[in-house]
Symmetry: C4
């Protein structure tokens, strides 16, 4: 019973070798199929996609809308656009396209200007759509920038370290960014392949931490799981863990004081990331001027030690 | 006493048959009357209404404001708008309307331009109102898009399933969207029609869950209520539940990691939605490349089983 | 000791009659003096002030900035503004003021256009400031609209009602707005004037509620404080309470599901608001179509009853 | 064990005299080195930097982008900009620069207007970039203004005051701003230099408070730590504390009801800030009109008293 209650939604049925369940960017290795179309929200997509795709989409939208209006102005008659250059010097569609851009973006040089009821009416529709377009881009840019993101650095390895006469599994996190994080708390699960009624099954178990909260994170935080009788790793060697497809799933939650938002970070280690007999080096020192100097690169560094 | 304390604000007095208390979109089947006018907040309305109504309202506002200014320019005298086309070719009101649009939206082609103190003064007022209008639309569009919404899919049915030698009521939820949800927790109540001092009364009781939280929701989450002596459903058949107008009210809360916001989802099942003797099929499998594939449509699927 | 720990920051020293400590709009009757200038944040002021003041301030800013630039253009020489109307027909300052507005707001009709290095340079500065001004207004309008506000309606009176063989103090709240509120919780204190070592002192005591949370608020919520031996009101009559300057201070917190924000509501009742022997009427009924109809005005209504 | 668990991430290794660990503005005296370039987020920088730097950066960006486009227009040929003043009266680059500004900002006077396919195409690109620039500034300004900030005033000194027959360490906080804060909670640690296996070490210990939460903060809040056997300060004199480099680290969290956001405040006192034998004066009084008047300057004031 207790076992089942810790499945974080990754499933217990085993039908093949699972890869690292959480990627380094915090996304899951889960593919969703048969997602109904109604689930697609353009805003979320435009907020979450890469900058390259974002700019491409809004630029293509900009061109397409203006091309459509350029065609409409052409249908309304070139004679209703005063100041347009004679067709001999420029393609009429290009002329109306340029006029359309000046209208859509409210530049309105006025070197070309609309005349007649119909053409003027079309400009009003275009101006209105242009206002919405600019409003949309403003909101999207702000939405993209202000999306909260915890960027924690996890040590490259988990170490098995001598600790209080026994052994402990340790890893370190630090805040990659300059923003101030407070009230961090961590939850750590492990996933193990096992047998359940002769059927291979995945089990999810909680990994207890000596301390699962810190109030601030000015330097780094070392998370310590003692490998005692209660530990899922007790008396298991690294090769045994590898065979069991052992994975550690970490969720860290904190409060980003720069943006006043709760942020989450996810990470997973596999058995390949565990180093037996290592101890993290101290990553900070006090300078002569009384400041603490914290070296981000040392988060990953460790010394080799003998295990008891 | 304990009974009363669980009324979620839907009332205990019974004066007729109640329909499903929570609609599929999470709204309540509650009508409010005598709401004071001061309770109306245009912003909330414009943020919450449909896209169709939203665009209609801002477009009508756009037209009306500009018509008002067009009239004012007409009153100020057509001779104060340089470059306006001769009245023979276009209605004067149309001309001033077009000029008003160019001013309101800061397009300012300049083919028509104001002259004289009064007309210039009116343009200043219009430009200022135009700036506010554009600012408002920008804020409204952003507000509409950035409104957090949990879109959970609930299985079409609740199943009564053999479970640990007894029976359990089960239903499933999955995240319809691509955004990452974390730390979900559920609260489930049921509503039953009963007698209290010979007066028909509605009672609200908590439905205990085997597990009422999950840390992530990459695939689906099956919520399990054991039908034991403590369950409000104990020893009641489906027809009995129907007669008691049995309803299950579900509130699920989670953290949307894409927008860093807490989101809530509400749902209700009636006795008609319960299937006796069913077991949900597994909705995911591990692909050869190690990815988990999750089929959204299978959330609703179940196999028929014998009940103990 | 316990007494002191409940002072919500209103002080225990008594030096005169205190008025209602929390106004109906949730503000405190506290005046702050010697506030350092550095505490003033224009943004918070512009977000929190009335709409009238807000529009006045931004309109005055708009006029003043443009007047300053109008003067600068005048100093740069009228001959550097092409198309300006001859000084005989309009005051030169007005002409440059109009040009300044067209520049500041990016209207740019072009009927007046800058010429020469200096005037052009000034326009660039003005355009840049204009962009910031428009950006600022956009942000302020959005900030004003999107400020979360709980608008709870509190019943006009607190009632002393027969309850489970004893007496209880009851009051009701309902959500004034259409937005959906969830997970409400209430904290209620009372303030009583008393003697401490012969010095008049204010004491703050917790008023226990039968139920201090509800999961939803579709209709109204009746908060019930039993007047038993543990109650600060035990064996005190209304005139006695009035003499003790009895006040009830209520803080209700909830989650606004429309804007995904936690909102707070504050309210205070004085002894004058208490009605001895009243029972709130039911404020909702089930319509024939199965909808619950909730009458906002009935939140305040009660029937007279005998007290035990 | 218990000792270690309270290190708030400032480290226990002692390699020199530490200065005040938290500055008055809430920042840490921690320097980070070897921070990877990928950690730099321009948005966070532009949101957090001073107003002077912010305006400089966006102004320089504005000038540089327009200079680049001015050069491109020059390369496209001056003859493609109608209305440009003859090169004799103004530098051609200046002319194209001015045209570029009018285009970038959508002013579009039209006194200079583009002609020909190439020049028109360049204006489209510039207009598009201009829209993004304006959208960006709008978002940045809003982001800067709407950043939540708790501005608590901490009393200049911590006082050792007679309290309930013993001694207590007291300090006061008040809200510097007008916004309403609710549900404040405080956590207080102290840092002491000590010996661990003959190696100098820093120890972090919790300082228990008589009351670590208040529901509102209309005036000031006095935090009280009793100096009894459980206190890290028990039986230590001020000179001893100074020698131990005693520091008090305070974290206060609250809910800003004006912006509906949780805000944090950090502060640290050193032993030099402690006054032996002082008692804070009352900082408020009730006026004749029943209002409470709260004097912000009195937050720091205290009277000298004898210690038991």
């Amino acid at each position: 019973m207790a076992r089942q209650s810790l499945d974080p939604g990754l499933g217990e049925k085993l039908s093949g070798n699972l890869r690292r369940v959480i990627n380094n960017d915090g996304s899951y290795n889960v593919v969703r199929t048969n997602v109904p179309l109604s689930a697609f929200t353009p805003y979320t997509y435009l907020i979450s996609t890469t900058w390259g795709r974002f700019f491409s989409i809004i630029a293509i939208g900009f061109i397409v809308i203006n091309l459509v209006f350029a065609l409409i102005y052409l249908l309304c008659g070139l004679e209703n656009l005063h100041g347009v250059e004679p067709p001999t010097s420029m393609n009429p569609l290009l002329s109306t396209f340029y006029f359309s851009i000046h209208t859509f973006t409210t530049v309105g040089y006025g070197n070309i200007s609309p005349s007649g009821i119909l053409t003027n009416a079309v400009t009003i529709v275009e101006i209105f759509i242009g206002l919405l377009y600019v409003a949309l881009i403003t909101g999207l840019l702000y939405g993209r920038f202000s999306r909260p993101t915890a960027r924690l650095v996890y040590s490259k390895n988990m170490l098995i370290t001598p600790h209080n006469g026994g052994r402990a599994l340790m890893f370190r996190v630090a805040n990659l960014r300059d923003n101030i994080m407070m009230e961090l708390s961590a939850e750590v699960l492990c996933m193990i392949k096992t047998e359940d009624n002769n059927k291979p099954t995945r089990r999810y178990m909680k990994m207890e931490l000596e301390r699962n909260t810190v109030v601030m994170l000015p330097t780094s935080w070392t998370l310590v799981h003692r490998i005692n009788e209660d530990s899922p790793m007790f008396n298991l060697s690294i090769p045994e863990l590898k065979q069991m497809e052992f994975q550690v799933i970490i969720m860290i939650k904190g409060f980003d004081d720069t943006f006043s938002q709760t942020v989450h970070s996810r990470f997973s280690y596999t058995a390949d990331d565990i180093v037996e007999g290592g101890r993290f080096v101290i990553s900070y020192f006090t300078r002569e001027d009384g400041m603490i100097e914290f070296d981000m690169e040392r988060v990953h560094e460790f010394d080799r030690v003998e295990l008891p």
